[in-house]
């Protein structure tokens, strides 16, 4: 069993009075990719937002590489090596492409093999280099997604949270995003991939968890999930 990169234990979260996470526990092994599936509104994004400190949890614990985090503040979680590719991309629209990357730059850990910088992001996404002085708001959806991924990598993270990176993209762009995720995983990054795209997730994931109405209802391997179609029908199927 791989060392735990990120674990959520019995996490509860609320939006105002509405209880959205009812004791969620997830474990991401180091160097592994955990696919997180579930319907709209199941609580997947809330799990990500709690982990980066955008939503405060009320009860439960979060550990990053075995260190318990008291109060999750976004700046603290970032300095702990957690990066987010947010839902809807949320790039800084009035900044140029290059500025979007530059503002997120953080020195890598001392043991990092291949630290990320602007040039390395441009090598991975040549389209971004072509548009480096363009306002990020003028990019296409696919380019914005690549910028959001590049921006997250500029923080030289140890854990990458990707919240629906395929949302709203054309099929060939989705395939490209899939290849990039596989490549990042190949470099040893620990990744949580939140998706509605079941096929993409099952191709990439080492482990899968399903969230339904704020609770984890399945945790196992992609093979185990595929073997039991009733789970997919019950928790992911469209009515």
């Amino acid at each position: 069993m791989a060392r735990s990169a990120l674990s959520l234990s019995n996490v509860h979260a609320y939006y105002g009075d509405s209880h959205v996470l009812h004791g969620v526990s997830l474990n991401l092994g180091e160097g592994r990719l955990l696919g997180l599936l579930g319907r709209n509104g199941a609580g997947k994004s809330t799990c990500m937002n709690v982990t980066v400190g955008l939503v405060q949890m009320r009860g439960g614990a979060i550990e990053v590489f075995g260190d318990s985090i008291g109060k999750c503040q976004p700046e603290v979680m970032s300095s702990r090596g957690i990066a987010l590719v947010p839902q809807g991309r949320r790039i800084f629209r009035s900044l140029t492409v290059r500025e979007n990357l530059a503002v997120a730059a953080r020195k890598p850990a001392r043991d990092a093999k291949a630290p990320w910088n602007v040039e390395r992001v441009f090598d991975m996404f040549p389209r971004l280099r072509e548009r480096k002085n363009q306002n990020a708001g003028s990019l296409s959806g696919g380019e914005q997604q690549m910028l959001a991924i590049g921006r997250a990598m500029m923080t030289n993270p140890r854990v990458l949270l990707m919240d629906e990176p395929s949302e709203g993209l054309a099929p060939q762009i989705v395939a490209e995003v899939g290849r990039i995720i596989a490549r990042l995983k190949g470099e040893g990054l620990s990744i949580i991939l939140v998706e509605q795209n079941i096929k993409l997730t099952l191709e990439l994931a080492d482990d899968v968890a399903i969230i339904n109405t704020g609770e984890v209802v399945f945790a196992g391997t992609p093979a185990a999930l595929q073997a039991d179609e009733s789970i997919i029908a019950q928790h992911l199927g469209v009515f």
């Binding site: 400190g53 970032s78 990066a83 009035s94 900044l95 503002v103």
Partner: protein, 286 residues
């Protein structure tokens, strides 16, 4: 002819002064969305502190910088301890800053009494230059130069440095900027402190010809408001253009149509609000 040229120089130097005052106001209002109604108080308090230092025989530039430094501290405390608790509540921010401006006005009245103080022009910038048969006061020309230099410095800082990009990222999407590790709260405090310091610097710079008196804050704040509405909140270039327009309108308006001086000042603002609400150089909110 000579009168008009002198009026033009006076207009431009008032414009320079207004830029120093309204640049900070514009950044605080446009970037942080805080309607800081105590910005005129920063100007007046800076002017009083500077005047006191000058009376004690300190060098003019030392007085200007010391007053600015004092306002960094005061502005920082106001932002950290009070405004920070009212994030996003514009009405509460208006009431707080307006209330603080009354408190500061009364404190100034207690400390410096109601008598106006008129500091002397710094000796090294006294006198004037004679060209084309006319006499231009050097001090006024120096203010124009300083304002343009500070405008350039601010523009480079905000538009061309990583720090400036981080501030703009915080304005675009503050929660996401924090997730990327940017210390948005510290940056916003810094912006507020820079704005307060610039206002105090302008207060000292302006004191030799505006003099320092109770009510100076309430005289300057509307001018800063007009400049920012005219130029567009958050736009430094807008603040610069707006400042010079208002400087010209103020001086020429008072010279040519003294009865209508305020109409001439506020009319362009009304027109801009009707025809181009985001201001001449303001960004359209998306």
């Amino acid at each position: 002819m000579a009168v008009w040229s002198l009026l033009a120089v006076n207009s431009l130097s008032l414009g320079g002064l207004l830029f120093l005052l309204s640049a900070g106001f514009s950044l605080i209002f446009g970037l942080m969305r805080i309607p800081n109604l105590m910005h005129g108080s920063f100007f007046m308090l800076g002017a009083y502190l500077g005047a006191s230092l000058l009376q004690r025989g300190y060098n003019f530039w030392f007085a200007a910088l010391a007053a600015s430094a004092a306002m960094v501290v005061i502005g920082g405390l106001v932002e950290r301890l009070l405004l920070r608790r009212l994030a996003g509540q514009e009405l509460a921010q208006v009431l707080l800053t307006l209330g603080l401006s009354f408190v500061i006005a009364d404190l100034c009245l207690m400390i410096w009494t109601g008598d106006p103080i008129q500091p002397a022009t710094p000796a090294q910038l006294g006198g004037g230059v004679r060209t084309l048969g006319m006499f231009f006061p050097i001090y006024r020309l120096a203010i124009i130069g300083i304002a343009v230099a500070i405008a350039l410095g601010l523009w480079v800082l905000i538009d061309w440095t990583r720090l400036g990009a981080m501030i703009r990222a915080g304005v675009d999407d503050a929660p996401m900027a924090r997730v990327m590790g940017i210390q948005v709260s510290r940056l916003f405090t810094a912006v507020f402190c820079i704005g307060a310091a610039l206002a105090a610097f302008a207060g000292v710079m302006g004191s030799p010809f505006l003099s320092v008196y109770p009510g100076l804050d309430a005289d300057m704040l509307p001018l800063a408001l007009i400049v920012v509405i005219l130029g567009g909140a958050g736009s430094l270039l807008g603040a610069l253009v707006g400042s010079f327009i208002i400087g010209l309108l103020y001086n020429f308006g008072q010279a040519m149509f003294p009865d209508l001086a305020y109409v001439i000042l506020f009319l362009p603002m009304v027109l801009v609000l009707i025809l181009r609400p985001q201001g001449l150089l303001g960004r359209v909110q998306t």
